[in-house]
C-alpha cells in the first residue's frame, strides 16, 4: 500500500468515529459534569493550598509586602504625627494633602541616588552590611505566629529561643560596619551599639524566659494559646514593662537611639551610607522594630487572640495582631515626640542597674507563681 | 584695698605706682583708663588683678594711629565687685609692636591676643599658642586692621 491509500483510510476512520462515537462521548461527558466540577475545584484548591500557601505567606504576611507596607506606613505615620505635634503639616503636596506618596517618592529617590563608598573602606564588609541588616530581623519575623496555623517557619517547638538567637546576631553587623566604613563617627557609633545591645538584650531574654515558664512551652503558638484565660501582661506586669522599655532600646528608637545620635555622631554607624545603602539600613531599623514589637505582642498581649468575654474568646484572627501592632506603634511614636535622648552611660545604667535586677525578680516571682499553681 | 570711686582709684594708682604707668584717666562714671609702660606692664597687670580686683577679663583689641606712628593695645577689664570697666592701654611703636603676653595673668586674653596678633601684627611674648584665630591658617595678606592695609590681591 502506498502512502496516499493510508491517508485516505485514516480520514475515513476519523469520519466514522465522528459520526458514530463522538456524540455519545460528548453526551456522557456532559452527564458527568456535575460530579466532575467539584472534584476539579477541590483538586485546584488543594493544589493552591499546599503549593501556594507558603508562597503567600512569604509574599503577603509576614513576607515582603507586609514588611514593606509596614515600613512605609510607619514612616508616613511618624512624619505626619510628628509634624502635627510640632504644629506643622508634614508631607503635603505629594499625594493629595495626606502626603502618602511622599514615602514612595523618597524611596525612589534613595533607590536611584548614586551611593558613595569611601576610599579607605573595607569594601566587601561595607557592602555586605546593608544586605545582611534587613535579613536578620526578617528571618526572625518568620517565626512569629500570625494565626494558630499561620507560621512560616516551624522551628520544631523551639521558636522562642530560635527567635532570640537570630535577633541576637543583629548587633554584630553594626559593629563590623562601623569598623569597615573607616570613619571616626561610625566607630564610636558601632561601639555604642555593642554596649547598648548587651545591656538591653539580657533583661529581654530573661523576661521572655519567664513567659515561657508561665506557658510551659518554648513554642510561640503554645505561648499564645496559654494566654486564652488571661493575657500575660497582667500576671507578668513587671516583665511587660521591662520588655516594653527593652524593645525600644533594641529597636534603637528615641529615647535610646544612642548609637545613631544625630546631634552627636551625625548618623552613628550609618554615617557613611548613602543612597540605596542608607535606604536598606533605614528599612532594617523599621524591621527590627517590627520584629521586637511582634514578639512583644505574642508574649504579653495575646498575639492573635481577640478580647475574651468571661474566658470565651470572641474571634481569633490575624486582624487582632495587626490592630495591636498599630497601637504599639502609635505609643512608641508618641514617646519620640515627648522625650529627649539619654546619654550612653545613663542608658547603660538603666539597663544594668534597673532592668536587669527587675527582670530577675520577675523570673523569681514567676517561678513562685508557677510552683504555687502546680501544688 | 578697694578704691571707692573712680577718682580715688585713679589717684591711688598714680600715687602708689608712678613708676609703672604713664597716666590714669577717668572718662566718665565706671570708665577708667590706665596707660601703662610697655616694659613693666606685667607688674602693673598683676597689681591690678590682685590688689584692685580687676579679675574679670572682658576683651582686648588694638588701635592703629598711623599718623603718630604708634599702636595702642587696649585690655578691657572688669571688677566684678564695683563693676568698674578699666581700660589698660599700652602704647607700642608701630615699627616694633611687641609686648609681653597677658595670658599669664588673665588666661582668657588668649583669644583676644591671637586676634590682635593676626589683625595688627602685635607680637605677644610668652603667648602659649600664637596662631591664626579668625583668618585662614595660610593667610599671607598682611595685617587687615592696620590703616595701611590695602585689600587688593591678597586672597589666598
Amino acid at each position: 500500500m502506498d502512502v496516499v491509500t493510508l491517508i485516505w483510510l485514516y480520514i475515513l476512520g476519523l469520519v466514522r468515529w465522528l459520526l458514530h462515537e463522538a456524540p455519545l462521548q460528548v453526551i456522557n461527558f456532559i452527564r458527568s459534569l456535575p460530579t466532575l466540577i467539584p472534584e476539579l475545584l477541590k483538586w485546584l484548591w488543594d493544589f493552591i493550598w499546599f503549593n501556594f500557601k507558603p508562597l503567600a505567606q512569604i509574599i503577603v504576611i509576614p513576607g515582603l509586602a507586609f514588611i514593606l507596607l509596614f515600613a512605609m506606613i510607619a514612616v508616613w505615620f511618624e512624619r505626619k504625627f510628628l509634624a502635627r505635634a510640632m504644629l506643622r503639616i508634614g508631607p503635603y503636596y505629594c499625594g493629595k494633602r495626606s502626603g502618602w506618596l511622599q514615602v514612595i517618592a523618597d524611596f525612589l529617590k534613595l533607590f536611584f541616588k548614586e551611593f558613595v563608598i569611601p576610599d579607605d573602606a573595607e569594601k566587601v564588609l561595607f557592602l555586605a552590611a546593608p544586605v545582611l541588616l534587613p535579613t536578620i530581623p526578617a528571618l526572625a519575623i518568620t517565626l512569629i505566629p500570625f494565626d494558630s496555623n499561620w507560621v512560616l517557619f516551624d522551628a520544631g517547638g523551639l521558636s522562642l529561643p530560635v527567635f532570640l538567637a537570630i535577633a541576637g546576631l543583629a548587633p554584630v553587623i553594626p559593629i563590623f560596619t562601623g569598623w569597615a566604613a573607616n570613619n571616626k563617627y561610625t566607630i564610636i557609633g558601632s561601639f555604642r551599639t555593642a554596649y547598648l545591645y548587651i545591656s538591653g538584650e539580657i533583661p529581654l531574654v530573661i523576661c521572655a524566659a519567664a513567659t515561657a515558664l508561665l506557658a510551659g512551652s518554648l513554642d510561640l503558638v503554645d505561648i499564645v494559646e496559654a494566654q486564652k484565660p488571661i493575657w500575660f501582661a497582667i500576671p507578668q506586669f513587671i516583665g511587660f514593662l521591662i520588655f516594653f522599655v527593652g524593645l525600644i532600646l533594641e529597636a534603637e528608637r528615641t529615647p535610646f537611639d544612642v548609637p545613631t545620635a544625630e546631634t552627636e555622631l551625625v548618623m552613628g554607624w550609618r554615617t557613611e551610607f548613602s543612597g540605596v545603602l542608607f535606604g536598606f539600613t533605614m528599612m532594617a531599623e523599621y524591621l527590627s522594630f517590627l520584629g521586637w514589637t511582634l514578639l512583644f505582642i505574642v508574649l504579653y498581649l495575646g498575639g492573635y487572640l481577640g478580647p475574651s468575654l468571661f474566658g470565651v474568646p470572641l474571634y481569633d484572627h490575624i486582624f487582632w495582631m495587626l490592630l495591636k501592632l498599630a497601637v504599639i506603634v502609635v505609643i512608641i511614636v508618641l514617646i519620640r515626640t515627648v522625650y529627649p535622648r539619654l546619654r550612653l552611660d545613663q542608658t547603660l545604667r538603666l539597663g544594668w542597674n534597673y532592668l536587669m535586677p527587675l527582670s530577675l525578680l520577675n523570673l523569681l516571682m514567676t517561678l513562685i507563681l508557677k510552683w504555687g499553681l502546680i501544688i | 584695698m578697694q578704691a571707692r570711686s573712680e577718682e580715688e582709684l585713679v589717684e591711688e594708682l598714680k600715687r602708689e605706682h608712678p613708676e609703672l604707668l604713664h597716666d590714669a584717666i577717668v572718662h566718665r562714671s565706671k570708665r577708667v583708663s590706665v596707660i601703662a609702660k610697655r616694659e613693666r606692664v606685667l607688674e602693673l597687670a598683676r597689681i591690678l588683678r590682685d590688689q584692685y580686683g580687676f579679675t574679670q577679663p572682658v576683651s582686648a583689641g588694638a588701635v592703629d594711629y598711623i599718623k603718630e606712628g604708634r599702636m595702642q593695645m587696649i585690655y578691657y577689664l572688669m571688677n566684678p565687685e564695683t563693676r568698674f570697666m578699666l581700660m589698660l592701654r599700652v602704647d607700642l611703636p608701630r615699627d616694633d609692636p611687641r609686648m609681653p603676653s597677658m595670658t599669664e595673668i588673665w588666661e582668657a586674653m588668649n583669644f583676644h591676643e591671637r586676634e590682635a596678633w593676626e589683625m595688627f601684627g602685635i607680637n605677644f611674648e610668652g603667648h602659649p599658642n600664637l596662631t591664626h584665630l579668625l583668618l585662614p591658617p595660610d593667610w599671607r595678606g598682611g595685617y587687615p586692621l592696620r590703616k595701611d592695609f590695602r585689600g587688593e590681591g591678597i586672597t589666598p
Binding site: R84, A85, L87, R88, I89, L334, V338 | -
Partner: protein
C-alpha cells in the same frame, strides 16, 4: 512617685497639640498680608524725584546708582536688589517722598542682571497675580488664642 508623675506629664502636654491646627503658611498658595510699614521692594514716583542723589549717598550697600531715563530730564535711582538689604534708609533720606516701599518680596530671577531694577521698572507696581501665579488666598496674622493664629482672607 513624683518621678513617674513627671514622666507622664509631658505626654499630657504634647498630646493635645496633635489635634491643634497647624501654623504653616503654604506659601505659593497662601501669602501673608504684610503690615503697613513693611519694607518690601521700592516704588519710585518719577514725577516727584528731584535727582538730588541723597538715596545713592546714604545707601550702606552702594546698591543705588543714578541713571538717565529716556524721555525725561535728569537722573533717577536704579536699585540693584542683589546687594540691597532693604534697610529703608533711602526712603527716609528722600526729601520729596519719591521713594516708597511696597510689600513685594519676590525678587527671584534667572540672571544676576535681572535683579538690577531700572527706574522705569521701579515706577510700576506689578499685579500680584503676575508675581505669584499660584496664589489663591492671603492670610492675615491674628493673635487670638491658642488654637488659631492665622485667619484666611479670600480676597486677592
Amino acid at each position: 512617685m513624683s518621678f513617674f508623675k513627671k514622666l507622664v506629664k509631658p505626654f499630657l502636654v504634647v498630646a493635645p497639640y496633635v489635634a491643634r491646627s497647624s501654623q504653616t503658611v503654604k506659601y505659593p498658595d497662601e501669602r501673608l498680608i504684610f503690615s503697613e510699614r513693611f519694607r518690601g521692594r521700592h516704588h519710585l514716583d518719577l514725577d516727584k524725584c528731584i535727582h538730588c542723589g541723597l538715596c545713592a549717598r546714604i545707601c550702606p550697600c552702594a546698591s543705588i546708582v543714578l541713571v538717565p531715563v529716556e524721555g525725561r530730564e535728569g537722573k533717577y535711582p536704579q536699585i540693584d536688589y542683589g546687594t540691597c538689604s532693604l534697610c529703608g534708609l533711602c526712603v527716609d533720606a528722600c526729601p520729596r517722598g519719591a521713594l516708597t516701599m511696597t510689600d513685594f518680596v519676590e525678587f527671584s530671577a534667572y540672571k544676576r542682571s535681572d535683579l538690577v531694577y531700572s527706574p522705569e521698572r521701579l515706577a510700576e507696581v506689578p499685579d500680584i497675580k503676575e508675581v505669584l501665579p499660584m496664589l489663591k488666598r492671603r492670610i492675615r496674622p491674628v493673635l487670638t488664642d491658642k488654637e488659631m493664629k492665622y485667619e484666611v482672607v479670600e480676597e486677592l
